[in-house]
Amino acid sequence: MGKQYKLVRYNLNGKDVEQMVDVRASLTDMLRNDYRMTSVKKGCEVGECGACTVLINGEAFNSCIYLAVWADGKKIRTLESLLGPNGELADIQQAFIDEAAIQCGFCTPGFIMSSVEILESGKEYTDAELRKLLSGHLCRCTGYENIIRAVKKTMYKRLGKEMPQE
């Protein structure tokens, strides 16, 4: 059998798009190669490290173990969707900087996309719940504490509440 392609129509970061895609491609492959969404990192490529995390219909998925053809009919969001009209950072991105939740930055887009799902739920989570919700990501630099703090700080800010003292 020769090369096999399939037409997919979906919504990428608020824009309707369509693409002829090789059926062998992962969603990571399509987002990086066809749309230059380079926030979607290729890490482990087996669904363990979370560096390729994107939101599909509002839920976090590892795009490395998601076939590109399955994007059909879905709403997909990558980190690029957070960019403001004049290049401004989102509150959660700024919090990662303020809390030094970044060193090399490779895991950051994935962590932030999971954080977006957490923050957009509008719920107040305990520390233990936040740790569990972020447990699908690996970071080899920060030791996680600053990442948890950045998400927690943004969560309380969005909820309009004072962050409890640690």
Binding site: M1, Q4, K6, D22, V23, R24, A25, S26, D29, E45, V46, G47, E48, G50, T53, E59, A60, F61, N62, I65, Y66, L67, V69, W70, D72, S114, K132, L133, L134, S135, G136, H137
Partner: protein, 293 residues
């Protein structure tokens, strides 16, 4: 890019069956968190795939006309955990599948895939055995329903016949009514780990809550396939709800299970964990059932 020979997308259950018959060598892919990883590893490199992922009719949890809880085979772990029917009648299943992998894996992983891979360590498997789930398979000859214990033939081999796909998992009313359960996954870390031992217990107490009316115990990773504990259950059924009986019950599981030595853990450790898990699970189940100890 995945090393894939050909890809077929099912447009309906009927179409999936036709594709299965036309391409008997092809592997079925649901969420892909096993299949794609194994393709990447090389174990399934170069295979043909029949995807059933786009069949939304196989998603969701309902109560059918016979009052069975019906879980569509493609329902993701996270959707099972969040589902109000599951939370009301078989909360332990939602809790068990909330311990699979990490959050992103629980969004893609399906209960159908978790059972069809035939793996003993699957976090849903022990609970589904303990609640006597029925597996629904749809194929060229129509719908076939079998008890989950008959679905598992041996390690990594399940009873899916020519042209069939799994379409649902059912929990009969007699199984979930007045029944409360608890699951313990024992693993080396809290996320993204495979169970070293999985224990699921559920109890139905007598009306005065003083006697064990029905107790069911099942394990994952205590043998090549998930298993029930018939001797242990026969021992405890009809006995009074006391700590003494619970201690004896927990020791009894050693007559039923057959864990192995592996690089993950020794047989001795697994036996120790199995006894302790049985005890903790039944205590928690009794509490949930409104009993006192």
């Amino acid at each position: 890019m995945y090393d894939m020979k050909a890809y077929y997308e099912s447009e309906s259950v009927q179409h999936a069956i036709e594709l299965r018959l036309a391409h008997p060598e092809a592997h079925i892919i649901a969420g892909g968190s096993d299949v794609l990883v194994q393709m990447r590893e090389g174990k399934r490199a170069g295979v043909e795939l029949i995807s059933i992922f786009m069949l939304d009719e196989l998603r969701g949890v309902t109560i059918d006309e016979e009052e069975n809880i019906r879980i569509g085979s493609l329902t993701s772990f996270s959707h099972i955990t969040k589902n109000p029917i599951i939370q009301q009648y078989i909360n332990v299943l939602g809790e068990a599948v909330d311990q699979v992998g990490g959050p992103q894996i629980r969004n893609i992983g399906t209960i159908g895939g978790n059972t069809c891979n035939g793996v003993t360590s699957a976090d849903s498997a022990s609970t589904l055995h303990a609640w006597e789930a029925i597996v629904e398979l749809t194929g060229p000859k129509g719908v076939r329903r079998i008890p989950i214990k008959d679905f598992y033939l041996k390690a990594k081999v399940v009873d899916i016949r020519e042209g069939e796909i799994q379409t649902a998992i059912l929990i009969p009313k007699a199984s979930y009514e007045n029944t409360y359960g608890y699951y313990i996954k024992y693993a080396m870390r809290n996320a993204l780990d495979i169970a070293t031992n999985g224990c699921s217990v559920n109890v139905r107490l007598s009306e005065d809550k003083k006697t064990f009316d029905r107790v069911r115990v099942a394990y994952g990773v205590a043998g090549p396939v998930p298993m029930r504990c018939p001797n242990t259950e026969a021992f405890i059924n009809g006995k009074e709800v006391t700590m003494e009986n619970i201690e004896a019950f927990a020791q009894k599981v050693l007559e039923d299970i057959n864990p192995r030595d592996s690089w993950r853990a020794s047989k001795a450790l697994r036996q120790h964990v199995a006894v302790e898990s049985a005890k903790r699970c039944i205590i928690e189940s009794v509490k949930r059932a409104g009993g006192e100890l």
